[in-house]
C-alpha cells in the first residue's frame, strides 16, 4: 500500500508539471501582446521592440518556460507587467482571502451536503427525498453569478441584513470578515451542497442495495446500525472523492463569485489581470488554482486507498 500511495503522489506532481506547461502554452497562443497593451496604440515599433527585449519576450518560448518554472519552484512568480510589483507579494494575501472564503463555505457545505445526502438516501422515494432532488437540480443548473445576484436582491436590498459588497482589508476582525463574506459564501454553499448531496445520496444508495446490507437487515440489526456499521464505511471512498472535488471547486469556482461580490481574492486578481493582458499574473493564478485542484484530488485518492479494506489488509 505505501507503494500505491507513493505512486499516486508522484502522479499528482507529474500532473501539476503537465498543467504548468499547458498554462504556459495557452498564454502564449492568446492573441494580443503585453507590450502593445501596456504602451498603447500610439507606441512606435522601436519602443515596442525595446520594451519586449526588456521583458525578455524576444527569447524562444521553451527558454522562457523553463526560467519561469525555475522561478516558480523557488517561490518567485516574477513581476507583474502592469504595475511592476512582485506577484507573490500581491498574490499571497489574496490567496489567503480566497482560502478564507472557501473554508467558510466548506465548513457549512460539507456537513450539510453529506448529512442531507445520507438522509435523502434513507428516505429514498419519500417526499423529502424528491423535494431535495428537485431543489438541488435547480441549484446545480443555475449559474452561480445568478445565484449571487438573487442573494444580493433578497438579503442586501429587500432585507438589508448583509452587505452586497464583500470588501475585506488587512486588520479586519474575524467576526466582521465572516459577516461581510456571508453572501458570497452562501452562494458557493448553495451550488456545492447540491452537488455533494446528490453524489452522497447515490453512493449510499448503491451500497444499500448490496447483498451484505440485506444480510445485515436479516441479522435483525436496526436501520441506524446497518447504515452506520455496514453502509457508510463502504460508501466512504466515493464520498471522499466527491467532497475533494467540491472543495477544489470551492477554491477554483470562486473566480466568478468573487467578481460578483467584489471580494479581493485570487479570482478577482486573475480576471483583472486577464483584462490587462498581464500574462505572468494570469500564469501565476492559473498555477495556484491548478495546484489546489490537483492537491485536493491527490489527497482524496490517497484517502480512498487508505479506507479500502482490500488494500489496507492484503491477502
Amino acid at each position: 500500500m505505501p507503494r500505491l500511495i507513493a505512486t499516486r503522489a508522484a502522479l499528482g506532481v507529474l500532473t501539476l508539471l503537465a498543467v504548468s506547461a499547458v498554462i504556459f502554452i495557452c498564454t502564449q497562443i492568446l492573441p494580443g501582446d503585453v507590450a502593445s497593451a501596456v504602451l498603447g496604440q500610439q507606441a512606435t515599433p522601436e519602443s515596442l521592440q525595446v520594451f519586449r527585449q526588456e521583458l525578455g519576450l524576444d527569447k524562444p518560448a521553451y527558454i522562457r518556460y523553463f526560467s519561469w518554472l525555475f522561478g516558480v519552484l523557488h517561490g518567485d512568480f516574477g513581476i507583474a507587467l502592469t504595475n511592476q510589483r512582485n506577484i507573490i507579494e500581491e498574490l499571497w494575501p489574496r490567496f489567503l482571502n480566497t482560502l478564507f472564503l472557501a473554508s467558510y463555505a466548506a465548513v457549512l457545505a460539507v456537513p450539510l451536503g453529506v448529512g442531507l445526502g445520507i438522509l435523502s438516501a434513507l428516505r429514498e422515494g419519500k417526499f423529502s427525498d424528491r423535494f431535495s432532488n428537485i431543489v438541488t437540480l435547480i441549484a446545480i443548473s443555475v449559474p452561480e453569478f445568478f445565484v449571487g445576484y438573487i442573494l444580493i436582491i433578497l438579503f442586501a436590498i429587500d432585507f438589508p441584513w448583509f452587505p452586497s459588497l464583500a470588501t475585506v482589508f488587512e486588520g479586519m476582525g474575524v467576526g466582521e470578515r465572516l459577516y461581510v463574506a456571508t453572501l458570497p459564501a452562501l452562494t458557493l454553499v448553495l451550488v456545492v451542497t447540491a452537488h455533494m448531496l446528490r453524489m452522497t445520496r447515490s453512493s449510499v444508495l448503491s451500497i444499500m442495495s448490496t447483498p451484505y446490507v440485506e444480510m445485515a437487515f436479516l441479522k435483525g440489526l436496526t436501520r441506524s446500525r446497518v447504515i452506520g456499521r455496514h453502509a457508510l464505511p463502504n460508501a466512504a471512498g466515493p464520498i471522499i472523492s466527491v467532497v475533494a472535488l467540491d472543495l477544489a471547486y470551492l477554491v477554483v469556482g470562486v473566480v466568478v463569485v468573487e467578481n460578483v461580490f467584489v471580494y479581493p481574492g485570487v479570482g478577482q486578481y486573475m480576471v483583472d489581470a486577464v483584462s490587462k493582458r498581464d500574462v505572468p499574473v494570469v500564469q501565476a493564478c492559473g498555477l495556484v488554482f491548478a495546484a489546489v485542484f490537483v492537491g485536493l484530488n491527490t489527497i482524496a485518492d490517497i484517502l480512498s486507498i487508505i479506507v479500502n479494506p482490500r488494500l489496507r489488509h492484503p491477502r
Binding site: Y212, F217, G220, T222, R225, N234, P309
Partner: protein, 536 residues
C-alpha cells in the same frame, strides 16, 4: 398444533408492488430438527418464500397475505421492532453468494458476533468463544485466529462455511439456506454440504433448504416441496418425491436428472480434419501463468469439452483462443493457419470463424437493442449485406434456434433466460463460424431449460457441422454433449480423450475425485461418499 412446530407459513402470498403474484397461497410447516427442501426453477418463488419466512420482502415486493408464525408468534401482525428481534436470533439466513454477503470492511469475527451481541443473546467474549467453536465444527483452518481475517482474505468455500457460522451464532431454531452450495465447485460442494448437515443435526436446528438441484436436496432434506410459478406443486417425504413423484412437473424434473446420470455418449465424428489445433500454449496475467503447456485439437463438427473447477484455467483457455488473452508461447492454428496471439492483429475473416457464447446471457446482450440489431450486427459486419438481406437472415437465424420470427422487434428484457441464450447462439451463428466457444452456456439456466439449449446445440451441429469448444464444470452436461473431453487442473490438462474413456476406469485420480463429487439423487449418496473417503 404440536409444540415442536417451529415455523409455520399459512396461506403465504407475496406480490410485487405492481401486483404480479410471486408466491401464491403456500403453506409450509417445519418441526424442530426437520429439513424441508424447496425445489423449483428460478422464478418459482423459492427465495421469496425463504425471505418471507423471516417476514422480509425485497425492495419492490410485499407480503400481502397469510400468516408467518415462528415459535407461536405471528410476525406479520407484530411491530417492526418485534420482527427484528426474531431475525438473526430465532431464524437465520445463509445466502447463495458468501462473497457478496459479507461486508468487505469488517473482520469475519465482528460480523459473526454482531447478531448475538446486539440481540443480547450473549456477551461479546462468550459470543467469540462460541464463534471459535463453530469455526472448529465447520473445520475452518486455525479456528482461533480465523475470525481476525477479512472476507477477501479467505477462499469461497471457507467464506460459505463462515456464513454458516454467522447464521448459527445465536443458536437459532430455524435456518434458511438459500442455495448455499450452488456457487461452489463440486469437490468443495460436498464438503460444505456434509458440514452443514452435521451442524444442523448437532444443534437440532430446523432448516429450509432452497435449491434447484434435486441431487443436492436428496442428501439433506427429510421432506421436499416442489414449487412452480409461485405455487406449490407437490410436497412429500424426500424419498417419495424423488422416487415416485405424483405430478407431471415433478416427474419431468426428476427424469431430467436421471437422464443425465444414464446417457448414451455421442459418437465422435468420422471426419478427423482438425479445425483448431493448440500446441504447447502458455499464457497468463501479468507474470502469473494461468495455463501451461496446453496441447489439443478439435475436429470439424466435433464437441470438445474442457472440464475443471473454477480457477483451473478453463475460461483463460477460451480467452487465449479468441485472442483476448495473448498467449506467451506456442501456437494456435485455425484450419492450418496460425492465429496472431492478440485479437487486434487478426484479420476480420479469422475473427468471423471463431465465435463465443457466454455464461450469462443476461449481461451478454445489450438491453437497449432489439434482436434484429443484436443478431443483424455480425451479419452486416462480416458479410456486408444490404439491409433487406440482413433482415431475412436474422429471421432465418431465429428460426434456426427455435424462436418465432416476430421476436425480431423484441428486446432482451422481454425474453426468458433460455430464450436469451438462444439469441446468443443465433448471434454466434450469424458469423457462420467454424468453431463456437461455449463458456458454461447452460450453468446459469434451470435444468429443464438447459436441457433444451443443449438439444439445440446438438441439432445445429448435425445441420451445420460447426465445432464446439465446450467449457463447463458440470460433468452431467459433458456426458450429454461432448465427443472428447479434457480435464484441467491448475492450468494444465491432466487427462484428455474420448469422453467415454475419460469417464470409465482407469481414471486419473483427480478425474475420479471430480466424478465422485457429483451428487446423485440417491438419498444415501453423501453418506456413501463420506464413508469411502474415511476408509481411504
Amino acid at each position: 398444533m404440536s409444540d415442536d412446530l417451529v415455523l409455520h407459513l399459512e396461506q403465504l402470498k407475496v406480490e410485487t408492488i405492481k401486483g404480479a403474484v410471486l408466491v401464491d397461497n403456500v403453506d409450509v410447516t417445519l418441526r424442530r430438527g426437520e429439513i424441508l427442501g424447496l425445489i423449483g426453477e428460478s422464478g418459482a418463488g423459492k427465495s421469496t418464500i425463504g425471505l418471507a419466512s423471516m417476514a422480509y420482502a425485497r425492495a419492490g415486493c410485499r407480503i400481502t397475505g397469510g400468516n408467518i408464525i415462528i415459535n407461536g408468534t405471528e410476525l406479520r401482525a407484530s411491530t417492526a421492532a418485534q420482527r427484528r428481534n426474531f431475525r438473526g436470533k430465532s431464524i437465520a439466513y445463509i445466502a447463495q453468494s458468501a462473497a457478496a454477503s459479507f461486508n468487505p470492511a469488517m473482520t469475519l469475527m465482528e460480523q459473526v458476533c454482531e447478531a448475538p451481541v446486539t440481540h443480547g443473546v450473549m456477551p461479546r467474549a462468550e459470543a467469540q468463544a462460541y464463534a471459535v467453536r463453530l469455526f472448529r465444527t465447520l473445520q475452518l483452518p486455525n479456528p482461533e485466529t480465523f475470525g481476525d481475517r477479512y472476507p477477501h482474505q479467505v477462499s469461497g468455500g471457507q467464506l460459505q462455511r463462515a456464513m454458516a457460522a454467522m447464521a448459527m451464532s445465536c443458536r437459532p431454531d430455524v435456518i434458511v439456506l438459500d442455495e448455499p452450495t450452488t456457487a461452489l465447485d463440486v469437490t468443495t460442494q460436498i464438503e460444505v454440504l456434509a458440514l452443514l448437515r452435521d451442524l444442523i443435526r448437532e444443534f437440532g436446528t430446523a432448516g429450509l433448504y432452497i435449491t434447484h438441484d434435486l441431487a443436492v436436496v436428496a442428501q439433506i432434506a427429510h421432506r421436499i416441496m416442489v414449487l412452480r410459478h409461485g405455487k406449490m406443486v407437490e410436497v412429500g417425504a424426500a424419498k417419495q418425491v424423488l422416487e415416485e413423484p405424483a405430478t407431471p412437473y415433478a416427474t419431468a424434473l426428476v427424469n431430467e436428472r436421471r437422464e443425465s446420470e444414464h446417457i448414451a455418449l455421442p459418437e465422435p465424428p468420422k471426419n478427423v480434419h482438425p479445425v483448431l489445433v493448440i500446441k504447447d500454449v502458455d499464457a497468463g496475467y501479468g507474470d502469473v501463468p494461468v495455463v501451461k503447456g496446453i496441447n489439443l485439437s478439435i475436429a470439424r463438427g466435433e464437441t470438445f469439452a474442457i472440464v475443471g473447477e473454477s480457477g483451473s484455467g478453463k475460461s483463460s483457455m477460451a480467452r487465449v483462443v479468441v485472442g483476448l488473452l495473448p498467449r506467451w508461447t506456442g501456437d494456435v492454428r485455425l484450419d492450418g493457419e496460425s492465429l496472431s496471439p492478440a485479437l487486434p492483429q487478426r484479420p476480420r475473416d479469422r475473427l468471423r470463424r471463431v465465435q463465443m457464447v457466454h455464461q450469462m446471457p443476461d449481461v451478454a446482450l445489450n438491453p437497449r437493442q432489439t434482436l434484429a440489431e443484436i443478431i443483424g450486427r455480425p451479419v452486416g459486419f462480416y458479410f456486408n449485406r444490404p439491409r433487406s438481406a440482413i433482415k431475412q437472415r436474422v429471421v432465418e437465424l431465429l428460426q434456426l434456434v427455435g424462436l418465432p420470427p416476430d421476436f425480431v422487434s423484441r428486446r432482451p428484457g422481454q425474453l426468458s433466460g433460455g430464450q436469451k441464450q438462444r439469441v446468443c447462439i443465433a448471434r454466434a451463428l450469424a458469423a457462420e463460424p467454424d468453431l463456437i466457444i461455449c463458456d458454461e452456456p447452460t450453468s446459469a439456466l434451470d435444468p429443464l431449460v438447459a436441457e433444451e439449449v443443449l438439444k439445440i446445440l446438438r441439432r445445429l451441429q448435425d445441420e451445420l457441422g460447426v465445432a464446439y469448444m465446450f467449457i463447463t464444470h458440470d460433468l452431467g452436461t459433458v456426458r450429454r454433449i461432448a465427443h472428447r473431453t479434457a480435464v484441467m487442473l491448475k492450468g494444465e490438462i491432466i487427462a484428455q480423450g474420448p469422453t467415454a474413456d475419460i469417464f470409465s476406469p482407469p481414471f486419473h485420480p483427480y478425474t475420479e475425485r471430480l466424478i465422485a463429487s457429483v451428487p446423485e439423487m440417491d438419498t444415501q449418496w453423501l453418506d456413501g461418499v463420506l464413508e469411502r473417503r474415511t476408509l481411504q
